[in-house]
């Protein structure tokens, strides 16, 4: 099943001087981990807002083209229904706290409270999230008195707790230490194994290479490149369009050039080892 599809989507913000998105088309199948990559301002967050329906619901402007979630136009969903299907963790972790809850536990349960779930269910699901995101130590702290990275993990928990089928994560690791960043990618893997569809905006391209199935590279609101992760992230053209290559891939591309070789390009450290010992392709 196609979880998300955009066809010829063009969008201009109300006061925008040009199109923020220009003729974007792509499809995401159910259960796929799909990376949106590209430079700052290339349109990644705008795409997320369109999938979630915030554009054109809150941000007016001019939107043309077709946007479908689970084969139904986003404009035909009522908001409560779309909220249940699509979980969305915003880019700026500092503005994500509700501001009405004074401890982390209640902050995470807030969305479930709004859905009117029984108290025991809420407690159980919140506990599971605290465990998943390793928040035990700060469960009783005020969410507004947390460090940047701690807040970001609470924000992700508050989205995942509603168990959405489709999860949009806009730069979910920007404030995280390297270990916690990998932990989030492992959670993404877990979600994938549960059959969830994930849209991930992320600059940490080495981890995108390891964990994502497809990548769409945006540049100034247009699709510059797109396809299976290996095809996109072993192609030096990525760098001509404001993108980055994984360091391992970049190293072997440079090495091939310098030494006149045409060895296959590994995407990750693990692949590099496999290629060397001849177990790769």
């Amino acid at each position: 099943m196609v979880a998300i599809s955009l066809e010829h989507v063009t969008y201009r913000y109300p006061l925008g001087t040009g199109d923020a998105l220009d003729d974007i088309s792509f499809h995401i199948g159910q259960g796929e981990v799909y990376a949106l990559i590209g430079g700052n301002g290339s349109g990644k967050t705008t795409v997320c807002n369109i999938i979630r329906g915030f554009i054109p619901q809150f941000y007016k402007g001019t939107l043309t083209g077709s946007v479908m979630v689970n084969d139904k136009p986003v404009s035909e969903y009522d908001d409560a229904e779309l909220t249940q299907i699509v979980g969305y963790s915003f880019q700026n972790p500092f503005t994500q706290m509700s501001g009405v809850k004074d401890n982390v536990r209640e902050e995470i349960g807030y969305a479930l409270e709004n859905l009117g779930l029984p108290r025991e269910d809420i407690g159980r699901r919140v506990d599971a999230m605290i465990e998943l995101l390793d928040l035990q130590e700060m469960a009783d702290q005020n969410p507004l008195e947390l460090s940047g990275g701690q807040r970001q993990r609470v924000a992700i928990a508050a989205v995942l707790v509603t168990d959405p089928q489709i999860v949009i994560l806009d730069e979910p690791t920007s404030q995280l230490d390297p270990q916690s960043t990998e932990d989030i990618f492992n959670i993404i893997k877990l979600l994938k194994n549960q059959g969830k569809t994930i849209v991930l905006v992320e600059h940490k391209i080495d981890l995108v290479a390891e964990y994502c199935d497809y990548a769409l590279l945006l540049e100034e609101g247009r699709v510059a490149m797109g396809g299976p992760i290996r095809d996109v992230l072993t192609d030096p053209k990525v760098m001509d369009h404001g993108g980055q290559l994984p360091q391992v891939a970049r190293f072997f591309i440079d090495r091939n050039t310098k030494l006149g070789l045409c060895d296959p390009i590994p995407l990750t450290v693990q692949e590099a080892v496999e290629f060397k010992t001849g177990r790769g392709n």
Binding site: S174, D206, F251
Partner: protein
């Protein structure tokens, strides 16, 4: 004598939570130092103590030989500039030009001088065409540069950047590196908190590793990346090139060039 020094500092927030315990560190002029370590370690807290935003619960913070307890925050901040982790904690004006000029105007610097200094700082931060723009019309990643320009324009002896690399793309990360180099070139000290291990390797010679209210290690970057125990405890990872090298049994490599030579 060190220009900036923390002597056996403890710090507790008003809710009673102790964020730093027995922390000491010292900085000379002309240093580029990275503070790295796990989320919640106390990195932001420690740098807020350096610029006088917070005062220690125990111990001393000395700036140019004087304890911050005896100085107003604005006096300390004139010497030690701090760029917040969250730019929105720092931005209050309705245009970027005014935001960058704010500190100078408050100091009653002469108008033409303000204009020249603001223009120079804006140019360094890639904001010269945005002077009339409302700060909130820029994306988060570029708002960070507004706050960096606001700090640069005050020309502090020590510049502290709190996670400037977060959410930045490759060109912006290079711009940051250039800004840091520029400040260094004028003999100042730059202290940067970052989770970007490649950036640490490329731009800094000394690293301070923090975990759980403490300093775990204060050493040349290359030494830090050789210490498995410290890396694990502080939730750090080696740069990917170093990981690649180690998977081939090569140690002590941090850059592409080093690995190419060693292979």
């Amino acid at each position: 004598m060190a220009y900036l020094e923390l002597c056996d500092v403890d710090f507790s927030y008003s809710n009673g939570f102790e964020a730093l315990h027995h922390v000491s560190m010292r900085f000379e002029m002309g240093e580029a130092v990275a503070i790295i370590g796990q989320n919640g370690a106390g990195k932001t807290t420690v740098v807020k103590l350096m610029n006088g935003l917070l005062k220690p619960s125990r111990g001393q913070v000395l700036v140019d030989g004087v304890t911050t307890k005896q100085q107003r925050t604005s006096q300390v901040a004139a010497k030690v500039g701090y760029v917040f982790q969250n730019p929105d904690d720092q931005i209050f004006q309705d245009t970027i030009g005014k935001e960058i000029a704010y500190g100078l105007v408050k100091k009653k610097v002469e108008k033409s001088a303000v204009k020249a200094k603001v223009a120079a700082a804006a140019r360094l931060c890639g904001l010269e065409d945005e002077m009339e723009t409302h700060p909130y019309d820029l994306p988060f990643s570029r708002r960070k540069f507004v706050t960096i320009a606001s700090a640069l324009v005050m020309d502090p002896k020590v510049l502290i950047l709190d996670e400037p690399t977060a959410g930045q793309d490759a060109p912006s990360t290079r711009l940051l590196a250039d800004i840091i180099q520029g400040v260094m070139a004028s003999g100042k000290t730059v202290i940067t908190i970052t989770h970007d291990m490649e950036f640490v390797t490329k731009e800094f010679s000394r690293g301070i590793v923090m975990a759980k209210k403490h300093v775990l290690m204060d050493a040349p970057i290359a030494e830090i990346f050789e210490n498995d125990e410290v890396l694990e405890e502080a939730h750090l990872k080696r740069p990917y090139i170093a990981q690649l090298a180690r998977s081939y049994g090569i140690r002590g490599v941090l850059t592409d060039e080093e690995l190419l030579r060693a292979m």
